[in-house]
Symmetry: C2
């Protein structure tokens, strides 16, 4: 969905923590929410933004929705940073 959307998604500390949690594997919205002092509705809102930024994806199983890190989409951001930050980046 574009660099801008991804960058905005990464700007929020809650959303970065969500991504960090997903590092260890897929989790449901409920599992993620347990680690925050925020309502499930709020977590759902953050998950929506991360999904729009394609930083995560979802797979449904029974009536759970599992969220997964979408590592490939970090590439765009890395490229931009390397480009501006003055380093080379091999894709």
């Amino acid at each position: 969905m574009g660099l801008s959307t991804a960058m905005k998604a990464l700007a929020d500390p809650i959303r970065r923590q969500i991504l960090e949690q997903l590092k260890s594997g897929p989790k449901t919205a409920g599992e993620i929410a347990q680690n925050f002092e925020l309502t499930k509705a709020t977590i759902s809102y953050h998950l929506k933004l991360l999904k729009q930024a394609e930083l995560i994806s979802e797979t449904k199983d029974k009536n759970f929705i599992y969220y997964n890190l979408n590592a490939s989409v970090f590439e765009d951001i890395l490229s931009w940073l390397y480009d501006v930050g003055g380093k080379r980046h091999e894709t």
Copy 2:
């Protein structure tokens, strides 16, 4: 000033464009402002945020202020992205 400040600074497209402009070398606030349809006050505000994030630094000469890219500070962000995105990053 921390990852969070830097990430927030990078979330705005104007600020990213400013950084891109500085890639080719130091520029004054006025020179930067010329490339946007925004007032100098607004550009000054964005420069302040970039400075707080330590993504740029300033050097004064006569009564000009030159802004420079501070490439080294991109490292924190790259590290975080590599870490979460599942890639290795040698510091």
